[in-house]
């Protein structure tokens, strides 16, 4: 078995709304995979199909070689799922939450003791363990949810927007812990997010999803490279001559030079390597440089190119989703 997840032509309809449109995807074992897309893109729907919560309208999906529809029972023993919304009981303590979950999953008394202790430690919750969850901050609640999920040592961890509404520092700690877990135990992490930076920093592979369609799957580097080359912008005190621009075009690695009045936009394979040559050429043409800036393509650019829309600008999220995010932010 080579793939942790393989999805073939999966579609999901809610009434007339097509939430997923013939999605095809393969994720290798041991990978951190990010499903990147705006609210309402179909991320949650795909996650919930993969975690056997409901069946696709058409198509087939396999997780760890098991069919999510016909072998759901077997599969549920091997995976963990953390929904986007809060998913712990708030009127009991953090420790009690882990205890009840471990009992539901059927861990033996001895396994239970170790598993609870280890997962509390991993998520830095040992000290707060006996406090009521209603006194926890948003970040602590998220860590407790992750502790519940890792406690049962799943082969794949499905996380729906794991850091939504959390402050940057907490986001960073949570990701470092998930990265470490992935590195040490080889646990697959399959997560959805609409934070570009998170996908770029922490995922081995990114799947861009928009309006139910999975548009592109690639590593963060590949994605960035595939969209455009680096851009060097030069501002001069006066209009740049045509000959200066044509000299630049002859430089190695420079693919395109656009001149707009006092500004030049130079596309190059690598801005670090070409910058010296560009400046030298401009100086020899007596161009007075007022300002020079370089821009590397980001995942935002890739997203814009493939999804045809800004990641955050298009917000078709439902009211309930908005309420949940607000709730998280309030808690955090």
């Amino acid at each position: 078995m080579d793939f942790a997840i393989s999805v073939h032509n999966v579609s999901k309809k809610y009434g007339t709304l097509l939430a997923l449109d013939k999605v095809n995807l393969k994720v290798e074992e041991g990978k951190l995979f990010a499903l990147l897309g705006p609210n309402g893109a179909g991320k949650t729907t795909l996650l919930r199909i993969l975690t056997t919560q409901f069946e696709p309208t058409s198509g087939e999906a396999f997780v760890l070689g098991r069919n999510v529809v016909t072998q759901g029972e077997e599969l549920r023993e091997l995976i963990s799922y953390v929904p986007q919304e809060m998913s712990v009981w708030t009127d009991i303590s953090g420790y009690e939450n882990l205890l009840i979950y471990s009992k539901i999953y059927g861990l033996s008394a001895e396994e239970r003791k170790n598993a609870i202790r280890d997962s509390l430690q991993l998520m830095d919750l040992t000290e707060a363990a006996n406090r009521l969850v209603s006194t926890f901050s948003g970040g602590m609640i998220r860590k407790l949810e992750l502790a519940c999920a890792v406690m049962i040592k799943p082969k794949i961890l499905f996380l729906d927007e794991p850091t939504i509404g959390l402050d940057p520092a907490t986001r960073k700690t949570i990701w470092e812990k998930l990265k470490a877990l992935n590195r040490e135990s080889g646990t697959n992490v399959f997560f959805s997010t609409h934070y570009m930076d998170e996908a770029e920093l922490y995922a081995d592979e990114i799947g861009i999803i928009n309006r139910g369609k999975l548009i592109k799957v690639a590593s963060p580097d590949e994605l960035k490279r595939s969209v455009s080359s680096d851009l060097v912008t030069v501002e001069s005190s006066s209009e740049v001559s045509r000959s200066a621009a044509s000299h630049l075009r002859k430089l190695r690695d420079v693919s395109c030079v656009e001149s707009k009045g006092n500004t030049l936009e130079i596309s190059t394979r690598s801005s670090e390597e070409s910058l010296g040559a560009i400046v030298k050429s401009l100086l020899s043409d007596k161009v007075v440089i007022k300002r020079i800036a370089t821009h590397k393509p980001s995942i935002d650019d890739a997203f814009l190119r493939y999804a045809g829309t800004k990641g955050s600008a298009q917000d078709t999220g439902r009211l309930s989703e908005l309420k949940r995010i607000r709730e998280r932010i309030r808690r955090g």
């Binding site: 029972e73 549920r76 986007q84 809060m86 009981w89 009840i100 999953y105 059927g106 499905f158």
Partner: protein, 256 residues
């Protein structure tokens, strides 16, 4: 899935409920107010008219099992609110993605409600005794009555989970909860004998599970006459089995 795995999930859910009750008992105290008013105010006043044929039993004693049944099933009927809260948070999604079968989740949550109802009964019975209600002096009968309260409330909790999975929102649920509880209470033998009702209401009472619960509790707690008990138990167990099954078949609908 083997039987012991079902049992394991059910016991975990009951343990969860006991832990919640240990952390916060406010709901139990507040819910105890209403049954106490029935026993403290309604019972003695209506009893003083001697207008309801209760045999040789004082009226407050007569309604005590009914009040007990009503207040414990109320706890169960409103348990659906917990399920709706768990739907709005992500808990139900997580449970559905866990290895526990839907049937065990529904049965477990229902019996958790049964456990909560049992705590309620443990409040009401001693209070009734303090008020002078004569409980039938047989500890075995008392224990049987508590077991009966547990299973009856679990059945009503399944009904509540079923309703929650259809209605899905708190507001609708609150409305329907009231619509169910009062007719069931008044359309039973809780406050007056069934044969004193108009024929149409008698017919309703004969299909109303509350009638059988009250009858069994009255036999066990007050009169000591348990000739009807086997029938009552069969009806209550059928009620439980049917509702837990329907509610678990419907359960996935709640998270869609």
């Amino acid at each position: 899935m083997k039987l012991n795995e079902y049992l394991r999930v059910i016991l975990s859910m009951i343990e969860l409920e006991i832990r919640r009750i240990m952390h916060d008992r406010t709901e139990l105290y507040l819910r105890a107010v209403q049954p106490l008013l029935w026993l403290l105010v309604f019972g003695p006043i209506v009893g003083s008219f001697h207008s309801i044929p209760t045999g040789n039993i004082p009226y407050t004693d007569y309604i005590m099992p009914g009040v007990l049944a009503q207040s414990t099933t109320t706890v169960a009927i409103f348990f659906g609110l917990v399920i709706i809260w768990e739907r709005e948070s992500g808990i139900l999604k997580k449970l559905v993605a866990s290895p526990s079968p839907d049937f065990a989740i529904v049965a477990g949550r229902s019996m958790a409600a049964g456990t909560r109802a049992l705590f309620q009964a443990v409040f009401i019975i001693p209070f009734a005794v303090l008020m002078g209600v004569k409980i039938f002096p047989n500890p075995l009968y008392l224990i049987s009555a508590l077991i009966l309260v547990f299973f009856a409330s679990s059945g009503f909790a399944s009904l509540s989970i079923l309703i929650a999975s259809i209605l899905k929102t708190r507001e609708r649920f609150m409305g329907l909860g009231q619509v169910i509880i009062l007719p069931m209470f008044f359309g039973s033998n809780a406050l007056y004998p069934v044969n004193s009702m108009p024929p149409l209401l008698q017919l309703f009472a004969s299909v109303n599970p509350m009638t059988y619960i009250v009858d069994a509790l009255r036999g066990l707690l007050i009169t000591g006459n348990i000739s009807q008990l086997p029938l009552d138990i069969v009806i209550i167990l059928i009620f439980d089995a049917v509702l837990i099954s329907i509610a678990s078949l419907n359960f996935k609908r709640i998270i869609e």
